[in-house]
Symmetry: C2
Subunit: 259 residues, 2 copies
């Protein structure tokens, strides 16, 4: 039997911060047909609020530490302000939606990251996605809107990487859908020339990916991101699409990653 | 046919602020059998955050005005921090739950309060409770946990009185359930002597309520609250129970309001 297509779309913090970009993205998003899921990052709003509240952003070896105060701010800003504002903006466009963090319906269960050299604090990695609950929401014709907050079995809220939230949901939902995973960020896709915004590679599969890595066309920051994309593909996601805020428009320029 | 009993419980801000009281309340709450709904207020946390963020709490004629900045803080603190923390604490106690504001599933649709002498800003009064959506959540054996934020048809989030959120939900759900509405605050119930915490009136109906008002035993601040309670009763709620944080305990002292 042909599986129905489900779209899982992650939007980054910078897109959310820019009101015009967010509006334009949401206009495209509500036009998409079929079941869909939105995952959002946080951007600089949490840092701004942390600063205004007089908390210090704690860093160890250049890495951000999520202490108790930071986790409170993340719960306020990601789980409250940004999440509920996006839901309200979808309702304004006649798209029924519901805002969720990992604690709601135990939908994203995680484990606190083990302390090795660095204690990252309230940071977690997802262990289980509750697809039954997500399916219940989708069957009500609602869009689940996820903030990147997960929850341990013991009920502790944890800061979680937004890209990972999207890919873990996509992988789990692949068991019952043909899932397409979209990452919207500032770049139009994977570039052959980092200096040239228009040098977007239209399609990548694992073979030509290996060639491009070997010939050092793809390097540095793009490597872990693409590694994660191929991992999602290998775990059942049918395609990963990388692009900018215009990614959902017809004839958009983007990079499509397939097996 | 006998209707199933549904319990709608409102907890005030002061209860939430006190960690020990909140823990004790949640222990009792998870023991309650049958379908149940939790509505929470905000307490001083929003005022505290407003101050720390450098915003002024705006007052006109002694009334608080919810301007745009205040509404952002309310969305952060009530819709994010408090709501998601309560959900996480319920999950920790093996009680499945989901945190909601009025925008989620268009569950609490409101109208912005009309500007007469005073413009209260982003403040709304509920016009419609989406009981179908609440029933969908209850049928998943989840507790809906509401922050006191509603949403207009146009997708504008509005600050809303928590007691009214609870009573509007209770009235709407009375169409399919026998609803008991609980208000947990600092007082054990309606007192015959405001100076004596133990002078709790165990039961009030509209007849003896009128007598107590006529004889000036019940005065001042208690009048609007009781007016709202009897309005809920007259619109189909089977009983309203007023008490403190220990209200859900067996043999608690409280005031029960019936028709």
């Amino acid at each position: 039997m042909m599986k129905q297509t489900l779209k899982v779309i992650k939007i980054g913090g910078k897109l959310i911060e820019n009101e015009a970009s967010l509006n334009s993205f949401l206009e495209d998003f509500v036009q998409l047909e079929g079941p869909k899921i939105l995952v959002h990052g946080g951007g600089n709003k949490a840092t701004e609020v942390t600063g205004k509240l007089g908390f210090q952003t704690k860093m160890v070896d250049g890495r951000r530490i999520t202490d108790k105060d930071s986790m409170e701010v993340i719960t306020m800003v990601y789980g409250g302000l940004l999440n509920k504002s996006i839901v309200a903006q979808l309702q304004a466009r006649k798209q029924n939606a519901i805002g969720l963090c990992g604690a709601d319906g135990k939908v994203l269960i995680s484990k606190r990251r083990e302390v090795k050299e660095i204690d990252y604090g309230f940071v977690g990695d997802i262990e289980k996605v509750n697809s039954d609950f997500i399916n219940s929401i989708l069957s009500l014709d609602m869009v689940p809107v996820f903030s990147a907050i997960s929850c341990t079995e013991e009920g502790v809220l944890l800061n979680t990487n937004g890209d990972s939230v999207a890919s873990e949901i996509a992988v789990e939902m692949s068991k019952s859908y043909e899932v397409k995973l979209y990452y919207c960020s500032e770049k139009k896709g994977v570039l052959t020339d980092i200096e040239d915004e228009d040098s977007v590679i239209p399609e990548l599969n694992s073979d030509n990916y290996k060639e491009l890595v070997a010939s050092k066309v793809i390097t540095d920051g793009m490597l872990p991101k693409l590694h994660n994309c191929f991992e999602a593909i290998n775990k059942g996601v049918s395609a990963v699409i990388l692009g900018d805020a215009g990614l959902l428009k017809k004839n958009s320029i983007h990079t499509k990653i397939v097996k």
